[in-house]
Symmetry: C2
Protein backbone atom coordinates (compact mmCIF):
# COMPACT_ATOMS: atom_id res chain seq x y z
CA UNK A 1 0.00 0.00 0.00
CA UNK A 2 2.86 2.41 0.68
CA UNK A 3 3.67 3.31 -2.87
CA UNK A 4 5.03 6.66 -1.65
CA UNK A 5 7.85 7.22 0.79
CA UNK A 6 6.58 7.77 4.30
CA UNK A 7 6.73 11.58 4.73
CA UNK A 8 4.99 12.00 1.37
CA UNK A 9 2.40 9.32 2.15
CA UNK A 10 1.62 11.08 5.43
CA UNK A 11 1.16 14.44 3.70
CA UNK A 12 -1.10 12.89 1.06
CA UNK A 13 -3.26 11.38 3.80
CA UNK A 14 -3.50 14.75 5.51
CA UNK A 15 -4.55 16.50 2.31
CA UNK A 16 -7.23 13.82 1.87
CA UNK A 17 -8.92 15.20 5.01
CA UNK A 18 -9.81 18.40 3.17
CA UNK A 19 -13.35 18.48 1.77
CA UNK A 20 -13.66 17.12 -1.76
CA UNK A 21 -10.01 16.09 -1.98
CA UNK A 22 -9.42 12.55 -3.20
CA UNK A 23 -6.22 10.58 -3.64
CA UNK A 24 -5.19 12.12 -6.98
CA UNK A 25 -5.73 15.71 -5.88
CA UNK A 26 -3.94 15.04 -2.60
CA UNK A 27 -0.93 13.66 -4.52
CA UNK A 28 -0.92 16.76 -6.69
CA UNK A 29 -1.02 19.03 -3.65
CA UNK A 30 1.70 17.04 -1.88
CA UNK A 31 4.04 17.31 -4.86
CA UNK A 32 3.39 21.03 -5.09
CA UNK A 33 4.45 21.32 -1.43
CA UNK A 34 7.70 19.51 -2.32
CA UNK A 35 8.17 22.09 -5.06
CA UNK A 36 7.88 25.06 -2.69
CA UNK A 37 10.86 26.71 -1.03
CA UNK A 38 11.54 25.99 2.65
CA UNK A 39 10.23 29.44 3.60
CA UNK A 40 7.01 28.96 1.69
CA UNK A 41 6.44 25.59 3.34
CA UNK A 42 7.12 27.09 6.77
CA UNK A 43 4.70 29.93 6.09
CA UNK A 44 2.07 27.46 4.88
CA UNK A 45 2.36 25.30 8.00
CA UNK A 46 2.31 28.39 10.24
CA UNK A 47 -0.84 29.69 8.56
CA UNK A 48 -2.58 26.38 9.25
CA UNK A 49 -1.60 26.35 12.94
CA UNK A 50 -2.24 30.08 13.45
CA UNK A 51 -5.67 29.99 11.87
CA UNK A 52 -6.74 27.27 14.29
CA UNK A 53 -5.04 28.91 17.26
CA UNK A 54 -6.06 32.52 16.71
CA UNK A 55 -9.55 32.15 15.35
CA UNK A 56 -12.20 31.92 18.03
CA UNK A 57 -15.94 32.41 18.29
CA UNK A 58 -17.09 35.93 19.23
CA UNK A 59 -18.38 35.95 22.82
CA UNK A 60 -21.56 37.75 21.82
CA UNK A 61 -22.60 36.55 18.38
CA UNK A 62 -20.50 33.42 17.79
CA UNK A 63 -19.01 34.80 14.58
CA UNK A 64 -15.36 33.99 13.77
CA UNK A 65 -12.96 36.44 15.35
CA UNK A 66 -9.35 36.88 16.34
CA UNK A 67 -10.40 38.82 19.45
CA UNK A 68 -12.93 37.95 22.18
CA UNK A 69 -15.39 40.34 20.48
CA UNK A 70 -15.73 40.17 16.68
CA UNK A 71 -15.27 43.15 14.36
CA UNK A 72 -19.02 43.52 13.86
CA UNK A 73 -19.98 43.32 17.55
CA UNK A 74 -17.26 45.78 18.52
CA UNK A 75 -18.23 48.25 15.74
CA UNK A 76 -19.98 51.24 17.34
CA UNK A 77 -21.72 52.13 14.09
CA UNK A 78 -23.62 48.85 13.90
CA UNK A 79 -27.33 48.87 14.69
CA UNK A 80 -27.76 46.68 17.75
CA UNK A 81 -31.55 46.76 17.42
CA UNK A 82 -31.50 44.24 14.56
CA UNK A 83 -30.03 40.74 14.83
CA UNK A 84 -29.64 38.49 11.84
CA UNK A 85 -29.68 34.81 12.87
CA UNK A 86 -27.55 32.60 10.61
CA UNK A 87 -26.39 28.99 10.68
CA UNK A 88 -22.67 29.58 10.34
CA UNK A 89 -19.94 32.20 10.00
CA UNK A 90 -19.76 31.65 6.24
CA UNK A 91 -23.26 33.11 5.92
CA UNK A 92 -22.14 36.17 7.90
CA UNK A 93 -19.41 36.73 5.32
CA UNK A 94 -21.84 36.24 2.43
CA UNK A 95 -24.24 38.81 3.91
CA UNK A 96 -21.41 41.23 4.73
CA UNK A 97 -20.37 41.21 1.09
CA UNK A 98 -23.72 42.79 0.22
CA UNK A 99 -22.62 45.86 2.23
CA UNK A 100 -26.27 46.77 2.89
CA UNK A 101 -27.06 45.20 6.24
CA UNK A 102 -25.94 47.29 9.18
CA UNK A 103 -27.28 45.27 12.11
CA UNK A 104 -25.53 42.57 14.13
CA UNK A 105 -25.53 38.79 13.74
CA UNK A 106 -26.08 35.68 15.77
CA UNK A 107 -24.38 32.48 14.60
CA UNK A 108 -26.27 29.36 15.65
CA UNK A 109 -23.52 26.91 14.74
CA UNK A 110 -25.77 24.72 12.61
CA UNK A 111 -29.45 23.92 12.11
CA UNK A 112 -31.87 21.60 13.86
CA UNK A 113 -31.59 18.20 12.21
CA UNK A 114 -32.91 15.10 13.97
CA UNK A 115 -31.43 13.01 11.14
CA UNK A 116 -27.92 14.20 11.99
CA UNK A 117 -28.58 14.24 15.72
CA UNK A 118 -28.56 18.03 16.03
CA UNK A 119 -31.15 19.16 18.57
CA UNK A 120 -31.97 22.78 19.59
CA UNK A 121 -29.75 22.40 22.67
CA UNK A 122 -26.72 21.87 20.40
CA UNK A 123 -27.18 25.32 18.87
CA UNK A 124 -26.50 28.74 20.38
CA UNK A 125 -30.22 29.37 20.93
CA UNK A 126 -29.97 30.00 24.69
CA UNK A 127 -27.43 32.77 23.99
CA UNK A 128 -29.84 34.31 21.46
CA UNK A 129 -32.71 34.33 23.97
CA UNK A 130 -30.37 35.94 26.55
CA UNK A 131 -29.44 38.65 24.03
CA UNK A 132 -33.10 39.31 23.27
CA UNK A 133 -33.82 39.34 27.02
CA UNK A 134 -31.42 42.27 27.45
CA UNK A 135 -34.14 44.41 25.83
CA UNK A 136 -32.03 46.15 23.20
CA UNK A 137 -33.16 44.04 20.24
CA UNK A 138 -36.25 45.06 18.24
CA UNK A 139 -36.06 42.76 15.22
CA UNK A 140 -34.75 39.27 14.61
CA UNK A 141 -34.15 38.32 10.96
CA UNK A 142 -34.12 34.55 10.53
CA UNK A 143 -31.56 33.88 7.79
CA UNK A 144 -31.15 30.12 8.13
CA UNK A 145 -30.70 28.20 4.89
CA UNK A 146 -33.76 27.63 2.66
CA UNK A 147 -33.73 23.87 3.13
CA UNK A 148 -35.56 21.48 5.46
CA UNK A 149 -33.16 21.90 8.39
CA UNK A 150 -33.01 25.68 8.01
CA UNK A 151 -36.80 25.93 7.73
CA UNK A 152 -37.29 23.78 10.81
CA UNK A 153 -34.85 25.94 12.75
CA UNK A 154 -36.55 29.14 11.58
CA UNK A 155 -39.97 27.78 12.61
CA UNK A 156 -38.66 26.69 15.99
CA UNK A 157 -37.00 30.06 16.64
CA UNK A 158 -40.03 31.98 15.42
CA UNK A 159 -42.29 30.22 17.94
CA UNK A 160 -39.73 30.75 20.67
CA UNK A 161 -39.03 34.43 19.99
CA UNK A 162 -42.43 35.82 18.94
CA UNK A 163 -43.86 35.75 22.50
CA UNK A 164 -40.92 37.92 23.64
CA UNK A 165 -42.43 40.89 21.83
CA UNK A 166 -39.77 41.42 19.14
CA UNK A 167 -40.44 41.50 15.41
CA UNK A 168 -39.42 38.23 13.74
CA UNK A 169 -38.78 38.24 9.98
CA UNK A 170 -37.51 35.72 7.43
CA UNK A 171 -35.47 36.38 4.28
CA UNK A 172 -37.65 36.66 1.16
CA UNK A 173 -38.10 33.60 -1.03
CA UNK A 174 -38.21 33.99 -4.76
CA UNK A 175 -36.38 33.43 -8.00
CA UNK A 176 -32.67 34.24 -7.78
CA UNK A 177 -31.49 37.23 -9.80
CA UNK A 178 -29.97 36.22 -13.13
CA UNK A 179 -31.61 32.80 -13.16
CA UNK A 180 -33.74 31.41 -15.95
CA UNK A 181 -37.40 30.94 -14.96
CA UNK A 182 -37.54 27.89 -17.21
CA UNK A 183 -35.20 26.02 -14.89
CA UNK A 184 -36.57 27.24 -11.56
CA UNK A 185 -38.11 24.49 -9.44
CA UNK A 186 -41.83 24.49 -8.64
CA UNK A 187 -41.48 25.31 -4.96
CA UNK A 188 -39.33 28.36 -5.69
CA UNK A 189 -41.78 29.55 -8.36
CA UNK A 190 -44.70 29.04 -5.97
CA UNK A 191 -42.93 31.10 -3.31
CA UNK A 192 -42.06 33.77 -5.86
CA UNK A 193 -45.73 34.00 -6.89
CA UNK A 194 -46.86 34.08 -3.26
CA UNK A 195 -44.45 36.86 -2.46
CA UNK A 196 -45.12 38.97 -5.57
CA UNK A 197 -44.99 42.72 -5.08
CA UNK A 198 -46.71 45.67 -6.70
CA UNK A 199 -44.64 47.64 -9.15
CA UNK A 200 -44.98 51.26 -8.28
Amino acid sequence: MTEYILPLQKLIEEFCRLPGVGKKTAVRYAFSVLGMTEDEVESFACAVVNAKKNVQACEVCGNLSDKPLCAICSDEKRDRKIVCVVEDAKTVMALEKVKEYNGTYHVLGGAISPMNGVSPSDLRIKELITRIGSGEIEEVILATNPNIEGETTAMYLSKLISPLGVRVTRLAYGVPVGADLEYADEVTLLRALDGRRDLK
Copy 2:
Protein backbone atom coordinates in the same frame (compact mmCIF):
# COMPACT_ATOMS: atom_id res chain seq x y z
CA MET B 1 -10.29 43.48 0.55
CA THR B 2 -9.92 41.81 3.95
CA GLU B 3 -13.35 40.34 4.17
CA TYR B 4 -11.98 37.59 6.39
CA ILE B 5 -10.20 38.02 9.69
CA LEU B 6 -6.46 38.04 9.30
CA PRO B 7 -5.42 34.49 10.33
CA LEU B 8 -8.14 33.08 8.10
CA GLN B 9 -7.25 35.39 5.21
CA LYS B 10 -3.62 34.26 5.50
CA LEU B 11 -4.61 30.59 5.43
CA ILE B 12 -6.86 31.15 2.40
CA GLU B 13 -3.97 32.81 0.56
CA GLU B 14 -1.69 29.89 1.40
CA PHE B 15 -4.22 27.35 0.13
CA CYS B 16 -4.45 29.39 -3.09
CA ARG B 17 -0.81 28.44 -3.78
CA LEU B 18 -1.81 24.81 -4.33
CA PRO B 19 -2.28 23.86 -7.97
CA GLY B 20 -5.81 24.36 -9.27
CA VAL B 21 -7.06 25.91 -6.04
CA GLY B 22 -9.00 29.16 -6.47
CA LYS B 23 -10.50 31.48 -3.91
CA LYS B 24 -13.69 29.48 -3.29
CA THR B 25 -11.91 26.17 -2.83
CA ALA B 26 -9.32 27.83 -0.58
CA VAL B 27 -12.10 29.25 1.61
CA ARG B 28 -13.66 25.81 1.83
CA TYR B 29 -10.33 24.24 2.83
CA ALA B 30 -9.64 26.99 5.36
CA PHE B 31 -13.00 26.49 7.05
CA SER B 32 -12.42 22.75 7.17
CA VAL B 33 -9.15 23.43 8.98
CA LEU B 34 -11.06 25.51 11.53
CA GLY B 35 -13.36 22.54 11.98
CA MET B 36 -10.52 20.14 12.79
CA THR B 37 -9.37 19.40 16.34
CA GLU B 38 -6.14 21.01 17.57
CA ASP B 39 -4.35 17.67 17.24
CA GLU B 40 -5.46 17.19 13.67
CA VAL B 41 -4.32 20.69 12.75
CA GLU B 42 -0.97 20.08 14.42
CA SER B 43 -0.54 16.80 12.58
CA PHE B 44 -1.49 18.48 9.28
CA ALA B 45 1.06 21.26 9.71
CA CYS B 46 3.74 18.77 10.79
CA ALA B 47 3.11 16.62 7.73
CA VAL B 48 3.63 19.66 5.49
CA VAL B 49 6.91 20.63 7.15
CA ASN B 50 8.19 17.05 7.46
CA ALA B 51 7.49 16.21 3.84
CA LYS B 52 9.58 19.15 2.72
CA LYS B 53 12.30 18.49 5.30
CA ASN B 54 12.62 14.73 4.99
CA VAL B 55 12.11 14.18 1.30
CA GLN B 56 15.27 14.49 -0.74
CA ALA B 57 16.52 13.42 -4.14
CA CYS B 58 18.27 10.03 -4.28
CA GLU B 59 22.02 10.55 -4.79
CA VAL B 60 22.13 8.07 -7.64
CA CYS B 61 18.89 8.32 -9.59
CA GLY B 62 17.30 11.55 -8.36
CA ASN B 63 14.09 9.80 -7.30
CA LEU B 64 12.31 11.06 -4.17
CA SER B 65 13.65 9.44 -1.04
CA ASP B 66 13.80 9.85 2.72
CA LYS B 67 17.34 8.45 2.76
CA PRO B 68 20.42 9.41 0.70
CA LEU B 69 19.79 6.33 -1.47
CA CYS B 70 16.20 5.66 -2.60
CA ALA B 71 14.38 2.38 -2.00
CA ILE B 72 14.86 1.28 -5.61
CA CYS B 73 18.59 2.07 -5.82
CA SER B 74 19.27 0.36 -2.51
CA ASP B 75 17.27 -2.75 -3.48
CA GLU B 76 19.70 -5.59 -4.18
CA LYS B 77 17.17 -7.45 -6.33
CA ARG B 78 16.92 -4.64 -8.89
CA ASP B 79 18.58 -5.13 -12.25
CA ARG B 80 21.24 -2.44 -12.52
CA LYS B 81 21.83 -3.25 -16.19
CA ILE B 82 18.67 -1.41 -17.25
CA VAL B 83 18.00 2.26 -16.54
CA CYS B 84 14.65 3.87 -17.26
CA VAL B 85 15.04 7.61 -17.85
CA VAL B 86 11.99 9.63 -16.74
CA GLU B 87 11.17 13.32 -16.39
CA ASP B 88 10.03 13.32 -12.77
CA ALA B 89 9.49 11.20 -9.69
CA LYS B 90 5.77 10.95 -10.38
CA THR B 91 6.55 8.89 -13.48
CA VAL B 92 8.68 6.55 -11.37
CA MET B 93 5.65 5.95 -9.15
CA ALA B 94 3.39 5.39 -12.17
CA LEU B 95 5.83 2.83 -13.62
CA GLU B 96 6.33 1.15 -10.24
CA LYS B 97 2.58 0.58 -10.01
CA VAL B 98 2.83 -1.70 -13.06
CA LYS B 99 5.02 -4.04 -10.95
CA GLU B 100 6.67 -5.40 -14.09
CA TYR B 101 9.81 -3.32 -14.49
CA ASN B 102 12.71 -4.54 -12.39
CA GLY B 103 15.50 -2.19 -13.51
CA THR B 104 16.53 1.13 -11.99
CA TYR B 105 15.54 4.69 -12.85
CA HIS B 106 17.09 8.02 -13.64
CA VAL B 107 15.03 11.12 -12.93
CA LEU B 108 15.96 14.06 -15.18
CA GLY B 109 14.02 16.66 -13.27
CA GLY B 110 12.17 17.95 -16.32
CA ALA B 111 12.43 17.99 -20.10
CA ILE B 112 14.31 20.20 -22.55
CA SER B 113 12.09 23.16 -23.33
CA PRO B 114 13.59 26.29 -24.89
CA MET B 115 10.16 27.95 -24.49
CA ASN B 116 10.34 27.59 -20.71
CA GLY B 117 14.07 28.21 -20.58
CA VAL B 118 14.99 24.62 -19.69
CA SER B 119 18.22 23.63 -21.40
CA PRO B 120 20.02 20.25 -21.22
CA SER B 121 22.36 21.62 -18.56
CA ASP B 122 19.36 22.17 -16.23
CA LEU B 123 18.58 18.46 -16.26
CA ARG B 124 20.42 15.59 -14.58
CA ILE B 125 21.96 14.49 -17.87
CA LYS B 126 25.59 14.71 -16.76
CA GLU B 127 24.79 12.33 -13.88
CA LEU B 128 23.21 9.91 -16.37
CA ILE B 129 26.31 9.93 -18.59
CA THR B 130 28.47 9.32 -15.51
CA ARG B 131 26.29 6.34 -14.55
CA ILE B 132 26.54 4.92 -18.06
CA GLY B 133 30.30 5.57 -17.97
CA SER B 134 30.66 3.24 -14.96
CA GLY B 135 30.10 0.38 -17.46
CA GLU B 136 27.38 -1.52 -15.59
CA ILE B 137 24.48 -0.29 -17.73
CA GLU B 138 23.47 -2.22 -20.88
CA GLU B 139 20.14 -0.61 -21.79
CA VAL B 140 18.67 2.84 -21.40
CA ILE B 141 14.88 3.09 -21.78
CA LEU B 142 13.82 6.64 -22.64
CA ALA B 143 10.47 7.14 -20.89
CA THR B 144 10.08 10.88 -21.23
CA ASN B 145 6.55 12.15 -21.87
CA PRO B 146 5.05 11.70 -25.35
CA ASN B 147 4.87 15.44 -26.03
CA ILE B 148 7.14 17.93 -27.81
CA GLU B 149 9.44 18.54 -24.83
CA GLY B 150 9.65 14.85 -23.96
CA GLU B 151 10.34 13.90 -27.58
CA THR B 152 13.06 16.54 -27.89
CA THR B 153 14.68 15.28 -24.71
CA ALA B 154 14.50 11.67 -25.89
CA MET B 155 16.09 12.60 -29.24
CA TYR B 156 18.83 14.58 -27.53
CA LEU B 157 19.60 11.77 -25.10
CA SER B 158 19.50 9.16 -27.85
CA LYS B 159 22.14 11.01 -29.86
CA LEU B 160 24.23 11.48 -26.74
CA ILE B 161 24.03 7.92 -25.44
CA SER B 162 24.07 5.79 -28.61
CA PRO B 163 27.82 6.36 -29.25
CA LEU B 164 28.53 5.03 -25.75
CA GLY B 165 27.68 1.52 -26.93
CA VAL B 166 24.57 0.88 -24.83
CA ARG B 167 21.18 -0.12 -26.19
CA VAL B 168 18.79 2.86 -26.28
CA THR B 169 15.04 2.17 -26.42
CA ARG B 170 11.88 4.27 -26.26
CA LEU B 171 8.48 3.32 -24.81
CA ALA B 172 6.06 2.03 -27.47
CA TYR B 173 3.56 4.43 -28.99
CA GLY B 174 0.06 3.30 -29.77
CA VAL B 175 -3.56 3.44 -28.79
CA PRO B 176 -4.08 3.33 -25.03
CA VAL B 177 -5.81 0.23 -23.69
CA GLY B 178 -9.53 0.76 -23.08
CA ALA B 179 -9.73 3.76 -25.40
CA ASP B 180 -12.13 4.17 -28.29
CA LEU B 181 -10.39 4.21 -31.69
CA GLU B 182 -13.01 6.65 -32.93
CA TYR B 183 -11.65 9.32 -30.61
CA ALA B 184 -7.94 8.63 -31.00
CA ASP B 185 -5.99 11.47 -32.64
CA GLU B 186 -4.35 11.02 -36.04
CA VAL B 187 -0.77 11.04 -34.79
CA THR B 188 -1.49 8.32 -32.24
CA LEU B 189 -3.25 6.20 -34.87
CA LEU B 190 -0.37 6.69 -37.28
CA ARG B 191 2.11 5.58 -34.63
CA ALA B 192 -0.12 2.62 -33.73
CA LEU B 193 -0.18 1.56 -37.42
CA ASP B 194 3.57 2.05 -37.75
CA GLY B 195 4.22 -0.05 -34.68
CA ARG B 196 1.73 -2.85 -35.52
CA ARG B 197 2.80 -6.34 -34.51
CA ASP B 198 2.14 -9.81 -35.88
CA LEU B 199 -0.38 -11.85 -33.98
CA LYS B 200 1.14 -15.25 -33.35
